[in-house]
Amino acid sequence: MQNIDDTRKDLLARIAVSDAPRELLKVPELKQLYDVIKTLAPEERGAYGKQINELKLLLESAITERESSLEDLAVESIDISAPWDVNGRPLNLLPTEQGTQHPLTLELENVINIFTRMGFEAIESRQIDDDDHMFATLNFPANHPARDGYDTFRTEENFIPPAHTSTMQNRILKAGKSKLEAGGQIASISYGRVFRNEDIDATHEHTFYQCEGIFVSSTATLGQMLGTLRSFFETYYGQSLKIKTQPAYFPFVEPGLEFAIEKPAALGGKPGEWLEMLGCGMIHPNVLSMAGIDPQKYRGFAWGGGIERLVMLKYGIEDIRHFESGKLQFLRKFYE
């Protein structure tokens, strides 16, 4: 069996003189050391694995050190205050016709635009949050089984990459409380990037975008929620639409519904074809209470849905993984 000490000495010596030290992490000697793990008895694996990890960390730091000493070798500085290089010419921008905006940000702007015109403020959601905003203030007690559905990532510190844009609900409600008590209404959407810890395929992504809305007043009704959502989709698709719902369970609403529209003609829809667009419901009284709003006096509704689905339907995009692929082949198909 190969000796860890010898490998360490040998590799450290090679890193010290290499021009491309990081390449040395790929040498077969290291791989062989890793392969040994499989051949060990389970009780020996832990200790051996730890040694290997220590070796790897040591090599990494030697590589970083070598890389920075390589940097110190002759690198010519430039006159960063000049508009172009010595003996150069004024520079052109890239051809303007090849520039594009990402289809998801384009569509988000579109959605925000419609809701803004309907009187909703738009607030971007956070990309790292805590259990309180992800679950507790949304009426998910600790260990509630409904938490399972969200497949949340977690950090060492127990922060959560949000699995829905509803992380903003408590903040929006708290901020809007005074407006409500002055006889006004809370009307807001929150939008942004959310995360689910799941395998990706053509229809699943661990990273995607959502848009969420909340409306609170002293007279809000479920009928108003249906009307608001229908009105949004009718504006978005530029035609009148049939809608239908299905009971659903989300702890932060009561009642909770799934909302579907009849597939619009613009998307090649035929009567009787339905598209499930989002989840919605009347805000649970506990959620209002937790934001300091009296559920006896005020009621509200909320909804939330994905942006990718809108874009995929609009353009007929076949694979959700394209969005975060950074492929120019894909990106250059979209324009204003």
Partner: protein, 828 residues
């Protein structure tokens, strides 16, 4: 979860077609993912009688049988008595049996809808004709039993359809469980049937035995002693158990019951096990059984069941052979001091029922659903039972179900009751009563439902209602553990009547215009400007592999680390956007794109930035760009990146300062950049850092396989936005008089920065009596020359007269003098 339509029909009348029912359930209860026509699978199977069975000559195991199909099968060869010949290899075939026969041309149900369905025919076995086949339980897709053919019970006329006989002419509804997380009642057929009745406007009637909460147990109740105790109602609100005898493992449950279990996905095993599964499927209440003798042997011969919290380091070997280490959050069933089961999840191996079992203890209990859920996650246990327990089955349910279990074990397995029911009920709760007004229901839904309809709607689902004028007092049935508050009743009324019958309206609002937030508007503008410069916007993941951080030299400890990612590519929050973009350059070059730039606007997170007032990590909105060209660079690529950023700033009327990097900058931001070929972008007014423009370190270029011609920038969007917000309009009226231009060529030492000339020039022009502007024309340096020539065009214009040649010359000369003094320049 699979729901059998025929099973539902035993509890409520269903007269609509299955598709219509599925639509109704979808609109008023839960999404149905698919409907399976089970009848198709069994459509050709017939019940037949084996009239004779004789050994096939020359075979040691085959029998030639003559079967009576009641004459219903056409086009088959029959003997003089009208019987059909089938060769059968099963050891248990006997004349006089009723069996299931698969005629020629039928598909073996076990292989139905599989990739290669097996179609039967007429075969010739050693010169003997065999028509189709007599089926085993496994071939009928009813159980794993394949030792012999399935013998049917009862008095069935030969030639009867097998599907009809066992009600397999059924439809199976596949239910989306997630939406019923809060509905323990719907995880039993009775509860689901109640909903089906109520949403179709029919009165439901729960079977009497499920409503009778005082369980009745027959048999000798004194033969065995049994005690149960529960430490804390927070662990278990109710625990019931009883001892039964002669729980013979070889006894089977009625075939009829077996077919119901198997169609909803439960494997029939033995009568005792089938009783527990059957009742769980029917009511949602799981049951468990322990071996009595094993249990008492662990506790010096005493039958005492103790429900307690797990102990630290305590071990338990489960039925599936795994040994787990318990925690104080687990609920444990113990005999004396020894753990014998992980409550609600799985029994222990030390009390498992086997062929030698004489007496059993049947458990019917209600455990804390939150604790069970954490147990489920911690130990990775996913079963039909824990799925139901974690929905929160009501404590009341445990008694009638135990009573039914005792009754069925007696009926199907001849088991006798040997003890009184031992009970601990520390978590007894009264059923809630809810007072609700008609107005609240209608105001919340936005509907107009009268009291009679409200009463009828809830009454159909067996809510007990008393009304007075427009107020209802509602007693919640015990199985609706999910109903606590007024809003729950509002939902019931809306849902059972159909939310789709509510008229959509729009909220009344004041006419207040809403502007998109300033920052949102700014960000949209930046996106459009960047696209206009020929750059492509990308979105990349917020998380990166640790290798990516290493490759740019960012310290992993500056990243928030994800601890439970299923993919190694998602280990750390990224500290800046640049590394994500660098990873996209080489793949796009390989796709044939030679000269392009990518940008992203997104949030970044760094541990060194600390937390906000809300105690969540600080987020920074960044804009990053990378421009790459496969071709040889014409000058340093730095200038290409800066050109784009200059343009962006120009679009907002902004000119920022570029400064050399001589001090340590933010380590995450700086990491990928080569400091000798990068510049800080600084707000002129207060010197604050906005970001960086520059080329990348050689190691970074190497690690990401970047072309030589690559550079970029990373800018703090909020900082940029703050500067733009304070920027005032700098419009000046246009002069009516012609302007004059002069090109000045300054010769300076080659290490004098262009910026020094410009700074001196601007200083000098500030005092000029006329309006001025400057434009760079040329930067020239001879090969190995010690000096360079910088040519600047100065434009002068007056607002009150045409400048004379002398005025122009005087101004230019005074300017030259200032610049020459400040920079040692000579003008050539």
């Amino acid at each position: 979860m699979i729901i059998s339509l025929n099973w539902l029909k035993k509890f409520t009348d269903i007269d609509m077609p299955v598709e219509e029912l599925a639509t109704l359930i979808g609109a008023r209860l839960v999404e149905i993912e698919s409907i399976t026509n089970l009848g198709e699978k069994y459509k050709d199977v017939l019940v037949v009688k084996v009239v004779s069975a004789e050994k096939l000559e020359g075979s040691d195991h085959l029998n030639v049988t003559k079967i009576d199909d009641g004459g219903v099968t056409a086009n088959l060869e029959r003997d003089k008595d009208g019987l059909i010949q089938v060769v059968c290899g099963a050891p248990n075939i006997k004349a006089g049996q009723l069996v299931a026969w698969l005629p020629p041309d039928s598909i073996v149900p076990e292989t139905f809808a599989k990739a290669e369905p097996f179609k039967l025919g007429i075969r010739n076995l050693r010169g003997t004709i065999s028509n189709g086949m007599i089926a085993s339980s496994r071939e009928l897709a009813l159980s794993d039993e394949h030792e012999g053919i399935l013998e049917l019970d009862g008095d069935i006329k030969p030639g009867t359809s097998f599907a009809k006989t066992y009600e397999l002419d059924d439809y199976l509804l596949d239910i989306e469980n997630k939406s019923l997380t809060h509905r323990p009642d719907c995880f039993g057929i009775v509860g689901f049937a109640r909903e089906v009745a109520a949403i179709s406007g029919k009165q439901f009637k729960t079977p009497d035995w499920l409503v009778d909460l005082t369980a009745d147990f027959s048999g000798d109740q004194t033969a065995s002693q049994l005690d149960v105790s529960v430490d804390d109602s927070e662990l278990c609100s109710r625990y019931l158990a009883i001892v039964m005898s002669d729980a013979n493992g070889s006894k089977k449950s009625p075939l009829h019951i077996q077919t119901y279990l198997s169609r909803v996905g439960v494997r029939p095993i033995s009568a005792v096990v089938d009783v527990t599964n059957y009742l769980m499927m029917l009511t949602g209440q799981p049951l468990h059984a322990f071996d009595y003798d094993k249990l008492v042997s662990l506790n010096a011969g005493k039958a005492e069941i103790h429900v307690r919290a797990g102990r630290d380091k305590e071990k338990l070997e489960l039925l599936d052979g795994r040994t787990i280490e318990l925690t104080t959050d687990d609920i444990v069933i113990a005999s004396g001091e020894t753990a014998i089961g992980l409550a609600g999840a799985m029994g222990g191996l030390n009390t498992v029922i086997d062929d030698n079992t004489k007496k059993i203890i049947v458990e019917s209990a209600t455990f804390n659903l939150y604790k069970l859920r954490s147990t489920q996650m911690r130990h990775g246990i996913f079963s039909e039972a824990i799925t139901r327990f974690t929905k929160g089955q009501p404590a009341e349910l445990s008694a009638p179900v135990l009573s039914a279990a005792v009754h069925l074990m007696n009926k199907w397995a001849d088991a006798q009751t040997l003890s009184k029911v031992a009970e601990a009920y520390p978590g007894k709760n009264d059923r809630p009563t809810i007072n609700i007004s008609q107005a609240l229901i209608n105001d919340t839904l936005g509907d107009d439902i009268d009291m009679t309809k409200i009463t009828k709607t809830l009454g159909n689902a067996e809510f007990e209602i008393e009304t007075k004028d427009t107020t209802a007092t509602i007693k919640v049935p015990y199985w609706r553990a999910d109903i606590h508050i007024n809003e729950d009743i509002v939902e019931e009324v809306g849902r059972l009547n159909g939310f789709d019958n509510i008229n959509p309206t729009l909220p009344g609002r004041n006419f207040t215009a809403i502007m998109p937030s300033d920052f949102d508007g700014f960000r949209s503008k930046v996106r459009k400007i960047m696209a206009r410069t020929g750059v492509n916007e990308v979105l990349t993941y917020s998380f990166v592999h640790g290798d990516v951080l290493n490759k740019v030299g960012q310290k992993v400890e500056n990243s928030y680390r994800i601890v439970n990612s299923i993919s190694p590519d998602l280990q750390y929050y990224r500290q800046t956007l640049t590394p994500s973009l660098l990873g996209l350059i080489n793949p796009n070059i390989r796709q044939g794109y030679d000269n392009f730039a990518l940008f992203e606007i997104n949030k970044t997170h760094r541990r060194q930035d600390g937390l906000t007032d809300e105690n969540v990590p600080v987020e920074t909105d960044m804009l990053a760009l990378v421009i790459a060209d496969k071709n040889k660079p014409a000058g340093a690529p730095y200038y290409q990146a800066r050109r784009i950023f200059d343009y962006l700033c120009a679009c907002f009327g902004l000119e920022l300062d570029y400064q050399t990097i001589d001090d340590k900058l933010d380590e995450s931001l700086m990491a990928p950049f080569e400091y000798r070929r990068s510049a800080k972008v600084v707000d002129k007014s207060n010197g604050s850092l906005i970001g960086l423009v520059g080329e990348y370190k050689r190691s970074v270029a190497h690690n990401f396989k970047l072309p030589d011609n690559a550079a970029g920038f990373e800018i703090d969007m909020k900082a940029l936005f703050e500067i733009i917000k304070t920027k005032s309009n700098n419009y000046k009226p246009i002069s009516r008089y012609p302007s004059s231009e002069r090109d000045i060529c300054f010769q300076v030492s080659s290490d004098t920065a262009y910026g020094q000339i410009i700074e001196a020039l601007n200083d000098a022009l500030k005092n000029a009596p006329v309006e001025t502007s400057i434009l760079p024309i040329d930067i020239y340096q001879a090969e190995a020359g010690k000096t360079k020539n910088i040519t600047i065009r100065v434009k002068l214009v007056s607002h009150d007269h045409t400048l004379t040649s002398e005025e122009v010359t005087n101004t230019i000369e005074s300017v030259i003098k200032v610049v020459a003094t400040a920079t040692d320049a000579t003008v050539i």
